[in-house]
């Protein structure tokens, strides 16, 4: 399972990077979103998969999966959501003000 997940993570990461290298601001945001997913799955995979029940003590299971990466991922999801939301609104304001979403056009002055 870990091998398969590693491959998926790599593919998600590659697609994210490819999107980030494109011109459209929207695609760049989509790319960061894919990168985030990839990193969350990577965190999950590194701790080992399916080694027990969900980390709830009421289950009375013999073994539970590692709860620590889950806590880390939960924190990360929330932070990346905050950042992404900010990024969205920034892009939206950029559309409104500058009238373009092409990153290649969003350059400073020549002599900057």
């Amino acid at each position: 399972m870990e091998g398969l997940m590693s491959l998926c993570i790599g593919i998600l990461f590659a697609v994210g990077v490819y999107l980030i290298l494109s011109k459209s601001l929207l695609r760049i945001i989509l790319g960061t979103s894919l990168l985030t997913h990839s990193v969350h799955l990577l965190l999950m995979t590194m701790a080992g998969l399916k080694t027990g029940a969900a980390p709830l003590l009421g289950e009375k299971a013999k073994a539970v999966v590692d709860p620590l990466p889950q806590a880390l991922i939960l924190t990360s999801i929330v932070i990346s959501f905050g950042v992404t939301a900010f990024f969205f609104v920034l892009a939206y304001r950029a559309y409104q003000t500058l009238g373009t979403d092409d990153v290649e056009e969003l350059r400073g002055d020549e002599d900057e």
């Binding site: 590693s6 373009t100 290649e104 056009e105």
Partner: protein
């Protein structure tokens, strides 16, 4: 703290006070306020001569940075005293001269005298410091104050160019010298010159010895305008004439000479030192004298003459260093004569060159030009200036009975002695020395005569002069007359100097030659018989006169040709090329395109991590601990990957957004599969809100630029992305292939209920065990929401005019 420290600090203090006092005394020329400083210091230094001649050295130390071994140690021996006397003596005369030279109403005198006092203090600091670091500090201060003085008339382009050039070159050398000092420190463990000299024999063979020597010599050569670093000196002639007379003939350009003389006990006796110092000295001597002939500007001519004379002194110091090789043997004193000649000529040059600069300044001041092609026939109009110039030029050319004659004879003696040296392959090359020296002397004779005769003899060209020439005011004439009288007195009674200054200075340069309590006996006589040197001088006069006649007839002087042009071109071109190169380099990679910068980052990411993985054997593939794959999971993985891969190929943005949302929901599914219910809940909510936000963005896209065409496939981007993905896969594989140590999570599992009273372990970790993370994550959300609110609400700038849509 001793009086010696006070002597160094007084000029700085006075530099602070001068602007205040000159504000109070508006009617007096600021120079009168400054004049007492060098005068009093000069007298004080004169009174120290008896102590120094008895072989004592004044020495006192003040702690500055004891942890770094840097103390402000002031120390005065024969060499230091000689330089201190030159600095303060000529300083006094220059201040007096400048009072009459600079106009009170037109010039910014406060600045001038503050800079001049700064320079004087820094120069005294250079020659009286025993600590190499302190010496370096004062050294750079001379560079800075000289920069300020050269650009005194800062509204002129040429002044600023000359100041920048001299600063770049001398600071370049200064930094090299600093590195050399550090290398010396690495070998000896002390910054004290005295202690370094004491260890000279131990460090002679070490690997750092030659690099240290080269770096220090680089500093000395740039400061003393040795070939090919001399190019700043002619351009520094844009400074006011008192500055040229003081800095660029008598003091600052001799700082390099001082350094070579001061460190001679450390380096002398080595073949490298001998060849570099005397070789560069001779090259500078010949080059400077040959170039001087072709100048048409009096100050430029004197600048090249200074260069050549500095080369002469430098070569003599190089020759004198040979005596250290024979330390103790009878012959050594023979070669030490070269050192005596160097010290003697150092004094002579300061005297006659100062006088000549001042005379040229008078000519400039009274006629409005320094151009040789417009001058002539000033002999009758300016008799006193003419007399000064006559003494100065004859002394420079080495004619009797002036002091320059004696040092020239000693120079020839030293050069002839080289042939008797039998080391460092001098047997075959020794002949070159006197021949080169003789040729340079001929050139020196020619330009000396040009300075004198083209200015003062011939016809007066009244129509070409700006004003009607007449003799200068008395105050302006006193300093050059004093200096010219010195040249005569030293010529007729050279032994005035030998006992008081020369012998102690030599004892400082060549400490190894004498046993305890012994003294040098330098005897200079005006007439010393029919020696080969006399015939060489007669030859110089004859050849020089012939050459002068020839040059006059060929009218070479009418050609406005400036020597050293190719070196200047090299300097200017080099500066320009460096600037262009830096600009082009920056313009090439700093494109302003975010995509390019991201590519740099990802390529670096791939290369660095890939290399690290390879080098640390991090690439592992160990399936033993892998969980089994069920059909259901494999299908989910396939769907997720397919959705992700489809995103870049999506034709419309809407499709891309929906595909990304699909990936997010598949991730939720995986969280469920991997037994993470809290994650799944959070992920599904966040994904829903995110997709809503995406759609919001999509809705507000400007209408005319709506992209419906399929984005083009870019191979390079693909390669970068594939590389990054591969690296991440390798990391994931390596990480999941067996941990190095057990997880700490069993602690959370065991203690979650007992310590925190919660059964949901993930939640307990978030709010109890690792609650700080959560608090800061809440802060992040708060900042993001406030930021979004501010972005939407705050409209301080008027919206930019929209660009018309480009085709």
């Amino acid at each position: 703290m001793s009086l010696l420290h006070v002597a160094i600090i007084v000029p700085f203090l006075w530099a602070v006070l001068t602007p205040l006092l000159s504000g109070l005394l508006r009617r007096a020329h600021t120079g009168w306020l400054v004049l007492p400083v060098p005068a009093v210091l000069f007298v004080w230094f004169l009174l120290r001569i008896p102590e120094i001649t008895q072989g004592k050295a004044l020495r006192s130390s003040v702690e500055w940075m004891p942890s770094l071994g840097i103390d402000f140690t002031a120390c005065m021996d024969g060499l230091g005293l000689l330089f201190a006397l030159l600095i303060t003596g000529i300083g006094t005369l220059v201040v007096l001269y400048s009072i009459f030279y600079l106009d009170k109403s037109k010039e910014s005198l406060r600045h001038f005298y503050v800079y001049l006092l700064l320079f004087m203090g820094a120069m005294l600091g250079v020659v009286l410091s025993d600590n190499l670091m302190v010496l370096y500090g004062f050294w750079e201060l001379t560079s800075v104050s000289s920069f300020l003085l050269i650009a005194f008339w800062h509204t002129r382009d040429k002044s600023r160019y000359g100041a920048q050039k001299s600063l770049l070159i001398t600071v370049f050398g200064g930094l090299a010298m600093f590195a050399g000092f550090l290398l010396l420190y690495a070998m000896t463990g002390t910054f004290s010159i005295r202690e370094t000299i004491a260890q000279a024999h131990d460090i002679a063979g070490q690997t750092l010895f030659v690099p240290a020597m080269l770096l220090i010599l680089l500093g000395a050569f740039t400061k003393s305008a040795q070939f090919p670093f001399h190019i700043w000196l002619p351009d520094a002639m844009e400074a006011p004439t008192p500055v040229s007379a003081y800095l660029h003939s008598a003091t600052m350009v001799k700082a390099g000479i001082y350094l070579v003389a001061r460190l001679s006990p450390v380096f002398a006796g080595q073949a490298e030192w001998f060849w570099i110092v005397s070789g560069f000295g001779l090259a500078t001597l010949v080059y400077g004298s040959a170039t001087a002939i072709r100048q048409t500007d009096l100050k430029a001519m004197l600048a090249y003459s200074t260069i050549s004379q500095l080369g002469l002194v430098m070569s003599l110091l190089g020759l004198g260093s040979a005596s250290a090789f024979f330390a103790g043997a009878g012959d050594s004193l023979l070669y030490a004569k070269a050192t005596a000649a160097a010290v003697f000529h150092l004094i002579n040059h300061a005297v006659f060159k100062g006088a000549l600069f001042m005379a040229v300044g008078i000519v400039d001041h009274e006629t409005g030009t320094r151009d040789l092609r417009r001058l002539g026939g000033l002999m009758r109009l300016m008799p006193i200036t003419f007399t000064v110039a006559l003494i100065g030029t004859f002394s420079m050319a080495g004619l009797p009975p002036f002091s320059g004659f004696l040092s020239k004879e000693m120079f020839f003696t030293a050069m002839l002695n080289v042939q008797r040296l039998d080391l460092w392959s001098l047997r075959s090359w020794g002949v070159v020395f006197p021949a080169v020296a003789w040729a340079a002397s001929v050139f020196t004779f020619v330009y000396s005569m040009i300075v004198l005769l083209r200015t003062f003899a011939g016809k007066l060209q009244s129509d070409k002069l700006g004003r009607k020439p007449h003799e200068a005011p008395l105050g302006m004439l006193i300093p050059p007359v004093v200096l010219a009288s010195c040249a005569v007195v030293f010529g007729l009674f050279p032994n005035l100097l030998t006992y008081s200054l020369l012998e102690p200075a030599m004892a400082a340069i060549l400490p190894d030659l004498l046993a305890q309590g012994e003294r040098f006996h330098v005897s200079i006589r005006l007439w010393h018989g029919w020696t080969p040197e006399v015939f060489m001088t007669i030859g110089v006069v004859l050849a020089g006169a012939a050459l002068y006649k020839l040059y006059g007839r060929l009218n070479v002087l009418q050609r406005p040709k400036t020597g050293g042009l190719w070196l200047n071109r090299l300097y200017d071109g080099g500066l320009g090329a460096a600037e262009t190169f830096a600009y082009r380099l920056t313009a090439r990679y700093m494109t302003g395109s975010v995509r390019h910068y991201l590519i740099y980052i990802f390529v670096f990411f791939g290369v660095a991590l890939g290399a690290a993985l390879l080098l640390s054997n991090g690439i592992r593939f160990d399936t033993s601990r892998y969980a089994p794959v069920s059909f259901y999971e494999a299908a989910a993985a396939l769907f997720m990957t397919a959705a992700a891969v489809a995103v870049p190929f999506a034709n419309s943005r809407l499709t891309a957004i929906i595909l990304t949302g699909a990936v997010g929901y598949m991730v939720t599914l995986f969280f469920i599969l991997f037994r993470a219910p809290d994650l799944a809940l959070t992920q599904i909510i966040v994904e829903t809100v995110s997709v809503a936000l995406f759609l919001l963005c999509f809705y507000h896209l400007p209408k005319w630029k709506k992209e419906t065409a399929r984005p083009r496939f870019k191979l390079f981007n693909f390669l970068v992305a594939a590389g990054a993905g591969a690296i991440v896969t390798l990391i994931a594989l390596g990480a999941s292939s067996g941990g190095a140590f057990e997880s700490i999570s069993h602690y959370y599992v065991e203690e979650s209920y007992r310590l925190a009273g919660g059964k949901n372990i993930v939640n307990v970790i978030l709010v109890d065990f690792r609650g700080f993370d959560t608090m800061l994550e809440i802060t992040v959300l708060g900042i993001a929401s406030l930021g979004i609110y501010a972005l939407v609400k705050l409209r301080l700038d008027p919206p930019l005019p929209r660009k018309p849509a480009e085709a």
